[in-house]
Structure formats: structure tokens, C-alpha cells
């Protein structure tokens, strides 16, 4: 083990804001967001890439925050749950649909589910129920039994489609 732990400064954009901060080389992106930047909305549920709670968007795509190093996010655009609502605080259509449809209980898995679905519905606004269930298959929720999450996603997709038409 090296005496001085390797670390470096990285610059990245998180939720539209540029950050420059030091991190140990070995920190995961999720640990860096949580402990380096204080953005604790991203949660760690298993740290071995199965539960999906730590999912964040990197350059718009959903990735496991526990399986990517912070140093690999140099120059990237990262979106976390803290960045999903509008600047004025208005909930995104997906967040609102989760509230309307009881899409969360304890809320611990919710950040990863919201980020996953945000990217998925952007790319697949016409997704049907089986497709949404498949898109969610990499996120474990112990509380809800998923049904209300699926309903929320379908409702959000409707809102997004209507928004696009208007």
C-alpha cells in the first residue's frame, strides 16, 4: 500500500454547476458526490452493482455510481436526484408522477429509480408497461412492490408526450 494515498483534483459539472474538487483515486463517483460534494441524495444500497440505488446520469446516460470512479468523471456532465427538479423548485413530470401515484415508500431506492427513468423516458416516451418493467429491472425496491412505480412512469410518459405536443 502506498504511504500517501493517491489523490487528484477533478473538474466536472454536476446538476449544471461546475465543481473542482480533490478526490482519492479510489473513490467511487457515488462516494465522491456524497462525501466530496455533499450531494447525499445519491444512495449506496449494495456497492456491488446490483441494486441500482446509486444510479446517476453521466453525460445523460444512467450508470451505476458505485461502479465508476470519481476520477473517470473528469469533464463529464453528471445529474443526480438533486438536479431533476426545475431551478424554481418545480418537480419534474416524473417526480410529480411519483408523488401522485405513491411511487415511493421509504425513498431510499428512489434516487436511482428517478434517474434511470428520467433517461429512459427521454429516449422512450412511448414506452409501454412491459418495457418500463424491463427498464426498471436493474433497480431493486423493497417497499413498493413496483406497481406504483410503473404507474408513475406511465403517467410521467403521458405528461412528457403531451408536453412535447404542446
Amino acid at each position: 500500500m502506498p504511504d500517501a494515498l493517491p489523490r487528484r483534483r477533478i473538474t466536472l459539472t454536476v446538476n449544471g454547476k461546475e465543481h473542482s474538487a480533490e478526490t482519492e483515486d479510489r473513490y467511487s463517483l457515488a462516494d465522491f458526490l456524497r462525501h466530496g460534494l455533499g450531494l447525499t441524495g445519491t444512495h449506496l444500497g449494495c456497492e456491488h452493482g446490483v441494486c441500482g440505488a446509486c444510479t446517476v446520469l453521466v453525460n445523460g446516460e444512467a450508470v451505476r455510481g458505485c461502479l465508476m470512479l470519481a476520477v473517470q468523471a473528469e469533464g463529464c456532465r453528471v445529474t443526480t436526484i438533486e438536479g431533476l427538479a426545475d431551478d424554481d423548485g418545480a418537480l419534474s413530470p416524473l417526480q410529480q408522477a411519483f408523488m401522485d401515484n405513491h411511487g415511493l415508500q421509504c425513498g431510499f431506492c428512489t434516487p436511482g429509480i428517478l434517474t434511470t427513468l428520467t433517461a429512459y423516458l427521454r429516449d422512450h416516451p412511448n414506452a409501454d408497461e412491459p418495457e418500463i418493467r424491463e427498464a426498471l429491472s436493474g433497480n431493486i425496491c423493497r417497499c413498493t412492490g413496483y406497481d406504483t412505480i410503473v404507474r408513475a412512469a406511465l403517467a410521467a410518459a403521458r405528461t412528457i408526450r403531451e408536453g412535447a405536443k404542446a
Partner: protein
């Protein structure tokens, strides 16, 4: 006058705005200045002794502040063990864990040392460098084998693995079996699973040297028990230990007990004079957080020629794991739950609780009931098979009828009161479920499917669940000087939306909007007493307390305002944050003014007989458990070649008395069924012959995903209980309890052409294929 603007409505959750925007504050999110982090050194053996722990290298590593072994813990902790939460006279060996094991470890993952470092990464680096001179011992790896002569003992101080014995029953069982037209007898083996809230456990502690006081945050269902354990351990007075639950990311039972880490972390914070946090990781959760469900039932049912029950007898072996933090309450619940919604004239169950060198077991969503319902419902199916009757018909012939309520089962429940079913219409629950599930058409559907080579099946699971256990849960309601209404309760939430539910109950009484109410729960600093969030008890107990206290507070506000206006109390009314004189032009006073006036304002004298402060407290103490019930029907398709099971349709009739918020109850039921699907088809903790856990990641231990859990068709029946002012019963566990029974029955029904019986769960594809192959070999041998 109580309006019902909120109770009974699908009120949106007050919890959601923060949780949806990343503003939740879970344990690992706490930002405490100067915080240090902990990692534990844990046993790699299921059973071993040790004499020396060499932590020299670890202590010298940069960023490491301390490495503590049992010897290094404060004097008050020496020789102490963690709290036994539920004592019971039939416990033969009431052994709980040491905060850190001092010479013997009894399951893989038991902690022997803790490293405190600048951060978790460094703490883990150092924990790897701690050297223990392990001396491995033989281990007991399954509760059945553990009771056999010559089995390895779980603790070297013991001569056998018996943790306790219970004998329950009533009636003349022997006569019932003598007089029986038919007897069915089987062995059932539900397997061990885990709770797996998505947030693991965790604890953080700050020690205030000036006040000699602790502030402890812990991801628990029972903050008051943690407080009690710390108080007992350190010999402090109650005001010196405040335990707070931050947002808790799911509980499901295993967060409902005091763990060693909740004592070691405060001790470390005091020793080091710095805040210390330990956030459990998922591997630790697999290794150390309590589990449940390994049981072995050898049961027989005696019935008459019509399939009417005469008696049930049998033995039950319950796996305690390595320690008994919850005593022997789970097998007690199992044995008293078994009769379910059926008239059972005679019953005898001999229970043996066995220690094993596995993670200790404590209540897990359902708490011994899913296994009991599995045993009873499988017996009913066996009777149906033996007599050539429809499984639904056998159940119909045995139901307790609605006009027989209250119904005394003849047993004593875990709360010491008789098992006295209060309300419910069990025949109607099943009838509704069958109608919704299309049960009558099923034989035709099954025939048509079979003609296409598809194997579909249907199964029923009925249950009665004792919920809403006492002794009490309390609430204080206060009108604040900012005009808002606050509810303080000991009850800690873990996703059930207590804030919303309790605010609904209060809002109706106080005639305010739910958003005008603040709810503070799970904090020993705001409520001195609390039992905890388990046994589907919060709405019943805390909810009733909120109703009682709200009514009292409402009377107080009316009396104060009436005195101010010099009118009679019946001439004033509460209206959206104010009290006003009835009538169109009536004077009014806002809650804010009223609260300020009565909070010690000089010159203001309280009316005669009215106590200071605009608050009221209540501790609701239920006279006994209230019994929820329900009926589940599962329809599945089985690929008889691969053994894959797909749930086609899942119907739930659920009766939890008065429903406060149907949206939330639906959520509890749907989520509970998902957990039950895991227990039925997926989730199994596997250990090898040396008691080493083999399923320690989410890649090996399979949790239900969105593709496997169907949208349940949920129907509410409401049989209000007279036992509390809300008429409510518990709803948190009913979704899980009968699901394994219903699903396994459906799988068996789908495989009717093969003529096999399924007696354990989860039933995996591999097991299904094995059963089919065995059945086919048997058929070949017969010919």
C-alpha cells in the same frame, strides 16, 4: 363533531417532496463536524474461539484513531451483553451478543474489534490488518440437525442446542385423531430469508463531555429500545441519552432490535471525544443483520368424512440462530397463528427452539406467521387432495363465521391476552377473492391451457394476523406559537408514511389541512416512551393516541377561546387554524394568537381548570391484539421443462378494519406481496455444512424485481374493531403472510398432471424440475 375530510381519503404523502428531491436525511447522510468512521473486524468462522487480537499494525496506520477490542471497551461494558428484548419463562438459555466478542464467536460476521478512522476507506484498510488467532470449532448449521444427538454445540458453554421449549394447545387432540375419518400428515420446511431494506443499518453518536450525555442517531425501528440499552449499559439517567431516527430506508423487522454496533459506536465516540459513525454495508448486512424463517413443521390434521377439522397436532423446530435477542417470541407467534380463520376443536403443538451457528433470527415481515400459514394452508390443500374436494370448499367448511365474532381460539397470545378474534368475515373474504380471481372458471381455463401444453395453476392463502400489539404508543399534540400543529410521537417511520397517516387523523379533529401539521417521530427527546414500529402496530397505537390527544386538545382550544370571547364552549368552533364564534359575523382568534397567549404571556390568566400550554398527550393502551385477516389467490404458469414460474394474476382481499388512507394501505399490501413472492420463489439464505453463508451478494440472493411482481388486484373489506377509537387494525405485514402459501399451492396446482406435493419454500425452478423428475420416476416404477 368530527369531520372526515382526510381520514379514509387517498391523501398524498407529506414525506414525498423531500425524498423526491434528494433532501432526505438518512443515517449516512448526516454531516457532523469532525466525524470519524468505523469499520468492524468480523469473524470469518461460524464458530471459533480466540485469545489474542494483534491490532498493532492497524493502530499505526495513518488516519486511524483507534482499534478497540472487547478489552478496550469502557469498564461499564465489560462482561455485559446486549438487551434481551422479550424475556420469556420458557427460555432455557437467554444468551444475547456481547458488544464485541471477548473469546468466542458463534456466527460468521460476529464482531471482535472496531477500527475508527478518518473515513470508511481507511477504516477498512486497517481492519484488514488486524490479526486474530482463531481456533475454529465445529458448527451447527441447521436447526433440524442441531437437535440430533452428537450435533456440534452452538456455544461451547452449552451441552445442547436447545434455546427453549413451548407446549401450546387445547382440547382432546388424541380423541380427535382417534375419531378421524381421515388424517393427513406432512413435513413443511420454509427457509431462511432476510429483510433487506435498501438502506442497511447504521449508527452515529456524539458524546457531550460537558453534559455527560449522548446524542445517537440510528437507523432503527425502535429508538426507545436503543436508548434503554445505552442507559442500561452506561448506567445513565434517561435525559442523558437521546436517540433519534433520521429518515429510515426501510425496516421490515430486522431493524427492530438493539445491535452491538449501537453500543460500541457511542462508546467509541466517548472514548475519542469525536462524533463517530458506522454505516453498515451490504455484505455486513448479509452477515450480521438478523434473518428469519427456517422452521421445520411435522404436522398432522384430523378431519371427519366431510373434511371438517377435528384436530391438528405436531412439532415445530424453530431456528434461533446464534443468539436470542428477541427471545422465543417468533415460534410462539407461529404456533398461535396456525389455526388461522378455521374452527379447530383440538390443537397441540410442541415447539423446540434450536440454536445454530447462523445469524440470529428476529421478526421479519410476518414474524413467524408466513411459516404457520404455509403449514396450515398446505394442510388444507392436503385434505382437499385426500378427499377429492375443491381446496376452496374444504376451507368453506371450516371457516369461523362472521356471527361467531368475537371468537375465542382457546390460546393465549404473545401479549398475554387470549387469542380472541375481534371482528372479520372470513367466508366473505375468501368468496370475494375467489370471485375477483375468476376461481369458478379456472378449471376450464386450466383445461384449455393444458390442451396447448401450458401448465397453469391456482392457489389460495387465507390468514388471520394478530396486529396492533400494545403495550402502548404515545403522542403529544401541540398548537405551536407559529400557528402550526405539531404531533410528537415515539413511533419511528421506515417508509410507512406515519407523518401522513397521523396528520390525517389529527387534521380531521383540529379542522386544519394536513400540510399545516408537523410530525416529529422516532426521537426519544420529544417523547419519553415508545415501544417501536413492529407488529403492524403504529396506526392502531400511535394513531389512536393521536385521535385521543387531538380530541382533548380540540376541547382545550375551544374552552380557551370561549373564555376569551366570554361565550359557552359549544358556541365556538375550530376553523382552519383559528377558533371562532359560530355564526356568520363571529369573532375569531387564530391558533397562533391562542398559542402565544397561553404559553406564559405575562398578564394572561388561564381560565379556571385549564392547564397551561396548548397541548395534550395520550398513550393508547390496547386491551389486546386486533386481528386483521385476508384471502389471497395466486394464478401462475409453470414451464414444466425449466421449472420457471410466472405469476399471471394475484388477487388480495384485505381487511384491516377502518382504512385511514387507502393509497397507503394498497402500497403496504402490494409491497408485502412482493416480499412474499420473494419468500415463495426466490429468496433463500444458503449456508454450507460448516454454517458459512454462501449467498452474500444480491447476485446470489435474489430479490424480486419489477418484472417478477405483478400488479395485485386489491379489494378492501372493512370490519372495524371495537378495540380502539379508530376501528383500525394493522396493515403492514398482511401482504407477505399468505403469499408463499398461495403461490406454492398455485405451482402445485399447475403441476397437477405430475401428481406431486410441494412442502418447502422458496420453490425454485431447480426444485420444481427435481420434483417432476421424482414424480415421473415414481410413476414409471408403479407401472
Amino acid at each position: 363533531m368530527s369531520s372526515t375530510a382526510f381520514v379514509g381519503q387517498r391523501v398524498k404523502r407529506l414525506e414525498d417532496p423531500d425524498l423526491l428531491t434528494g433532501k432526505g436525511q438518512f443515517l449516512d447522510d448526516l454531516k457532523l463536524p469532525g466525524l470519524l468512521e468505523a469499520a468492524f473486524v468480523r469473524s470469518p468462522f461460524a464458530h471459533a474461539t480466540f485469545t489474542e487480537i494483534d491490532a498493532e499494525e492497524a493502530r499505526a496506520m495513518p488516519g486511524v484513531h483507534a482499534v478497540l477490542t472487547a478489552r478496550d471497551l469502557p469498564a461499564e461494558m465489560q462482561g455485559q451483553r446486549i438487551l434481551l428484548q422479550v424475556p420469556h419463562p420458557q427460555i432455557t438459555n437467554a444468551v444475547t451478543q456481547e458488544p464485541l466478542a471477548s473469546r468466542e464467536v458463534c456466527f460468521v460476521g460476529e464482531a471482535v474489534a472496531v477500527v475508527i478512522a478518518d473515513n470508511r476507506h481507511l477504516a477498512e484498510d486497517a481492519a484488514e490488518r488486524v490479526i486474530v488467532d482463531w481456533e475454529p470449532l465445529p458448527a451447527a448449521s441447521h436447526c433440524d440437525a442441531a437437535l440430533k444427538p452428537g450435533a456440534p454445540v452452538t456455544h461451547s458453554s452449552m451441552t445442547d442446542n436447545i434455546a427453549g421449549r413451548l407446549n401450546l394447545g387445547y382440547g382432546d387432540v388424541d380423541a380427535a385423531f382417534r375419531n378421524a375419518a381421515h388424517v393427513v400428515e406432512e413435513r413443511y420446511a420454509p427457509h431462511r430469508g432476510t429483510g433487506h431494506p435498501m438502506e442497511c443499518r447504521g449508527v452515529a453518536a456524539v458524546y457531550d463531555v460537558v453534559g455527560d450525555a449522548f446524542r445517537i442517531w440510528t437507523s432503527t425501528q425502535t429508538p426507545h429500545n436503543t436508548q434503554r440499552a445505552v442507559i442500561d449499559m452506561f448506567g445513565l439517567s434517561e435525559d442523558k441519552v437521546r436517540v433519534i431516527t433520521p429518515d429510515v430506508g426501510g425496516g421490515f423487522g430486522p431493524k427492530n432490535q438493539v445491535y452491538p454496533e449501537e453500543l460500541v459506536i457511542p462508546a467509541a465516540a466517548r472514548l475519542l471525544g469525536r462524533p463517530v459513525k458506522w454505516a453498515e454495508d451490504r455484505r455486513e448486512h448479509f452477515l450480521t443483520t438478523t434473518q428469519e424463517r427456517d422452521q421445520v413443521w411435522d404436522v398432522a390434521a384430523a378431519v371427519d368424512a366431510d373434511g371438517v377439522l377435528l384436530g391438528v397436532k405436531g412439532t415445530l423446530i424453530h431456528d434461533a440462530g446464534a443468539y436470542l435477542p428477541w427471545g422465543i417470541i417468533m415460534p410462539y407467534i407461529s404456533a398461535t397463528t396456525l389455526p388461522g380463520p378455521y374452527k379447530l376443536p383440538a390443537y397441540r403443538m410442541a415447539v423446540t427452539v434450536a440454536f445454530t451457528n447462523l445469524v440470529p433470527t428476529t421478526p421479519l415481515r410476518g414474524a413467524g406467521r408466513p411459516q404457520a400459514v404455509f403449514a396450515m394452508e398446505r394442510l388444507m390443500d392436503a385434505v382437499a387432495q385426500k378427499l377429492g374436494l375443491d381446496p376452496a370448499e374444504v376451507r368453506r367448511r371450516n371457516f369461523i363465521q362472521a356471527d361467531e365474532m368475537p371468537y375465542d381460539m382457546g390460546l393465549t397470545y404473545r401479549d398475554g391476552a387470549p387469542v380472541m378474534y375481534d371482528t372479520g368475515d372470513y367466508p366473505q373474504a375468501q368468496a370475494l377473492a375467489l370471485a375477483k380471481a375468476g376461481y369458478d372458471d379456472f378449471p376450464a381455463r386450466q383445461k384449455a391451457a393444458l390442451a396447448q401444453g401450458r401448465h397453469i395453476g391456482i392457489g389460495i392463502g387465507n390468514y388471520v394476523e394478530g396486529t396492533g400489539l400494545g403495550p402502548f404508543e404515545g403522542a403529544t399534540i401541540r398548537i405551536l406559537t407559529n400557528g402550526r400543529v405539531a404531533i410528537y410521537t415515539g413511533a419511528a417511520a421506515a417508509g410507512q408514511a406515519h407523518r401522513t397517516t397521523l396528520a390525517q387523523i389529527c387534521a380531521d379533529e383540529m379542522n386544519v389541512d394536513v400540510t399545516d401539521i408537523d410530525v416529529v417521530g422516532g426521537d426519544t427527546g420529544v417523547m419519553p416512551r415508545g415501544a417501536g414500529t413492529y407488529a403492524s402496530r403504529i396506526t392502531v397505537n400511535a394513531g389512536s393516541s393521536v385521535r385521543v390527544a387531538s380530541i382533548e386538545l380540540r376541547g382545550k382550544a375551544l374552552a380557551l377561546a370561549a373564555a376569551k370571547f366570554d361565550v359557552k364552549p359549544e358556541d365556538v368552533e375550530l376553523t382552519h387554524g383559528a377558533v371562532r364564534i359560530k355564526g356568520e359575523q363571529g369573532d375569531s382568534i387564530t391558533f397562533e394568537e391562542l398559542a402565544k397567549m397561553t404559553s406564559g404571556m405575562p398578564g394572561y390568566a388561564l381560565p379556571k381548570g385549564v392547564k397551561p400550554d396548548l397541548e395534550a398527550s395520550g398513550y393508547f393502551t390496547p386491551p389486546q391484539a386486533t386481528y386483521s385477516n385476508g384471502s389471497h389467490v395466486a394464478e401462475v404458469e409453470v414451464d414444466a421443462e425449466t421449472g420457471q414460474v410466472k405469476i399471471l394474476k394475484y388477487t388480495v382481499v384485505h381487511d384491516c378494519g377502518t382504512v385511514i388512507n387507502p393509497m397507503l394501505v394498497d402500497g403496504q399490501v402490494q409491497g408485502g406481496v412482493a416480499h412474499g413472492i420473494g419468500n415463495a420463489l426466490l429468496e433463500r439464505m444458503v449456508f454450507d455444512a460448516d454454517a458459512n453463508p454462501l449467498t452474500t451478494t444480491f447476485a446470489d440472493y435474489l430479490m424480486p424485481t419489477a418484472e417478477l411482481v405483478p400488479d395485485c388486484d386489491i379489494v378492501h373489506m372493512e370490519s372495524p374493531t371495537p378495540l380502539n377509537p379508530l376501528g383500525a387494525k394493522g396493515a403492514g405485514e398482511g401482504g407477505t403472510i399468505p403469499a408463499p402459501a398461495a403461490i406454492v399451492a398455485a405451482v402445485e396446482s399447475a403441476l397437477t398432471p405430475f401428481g406431486l406435493r410441494i412442502t418447502d419454500c422458496p420453490i425454485t425452478p431447480q426444485r420444481i424440475v427435481e420434483l417432476i423428475q421424482t414424480a415421473q420416476e415414481t410413476i414409471q416404477e408403479d407401472h
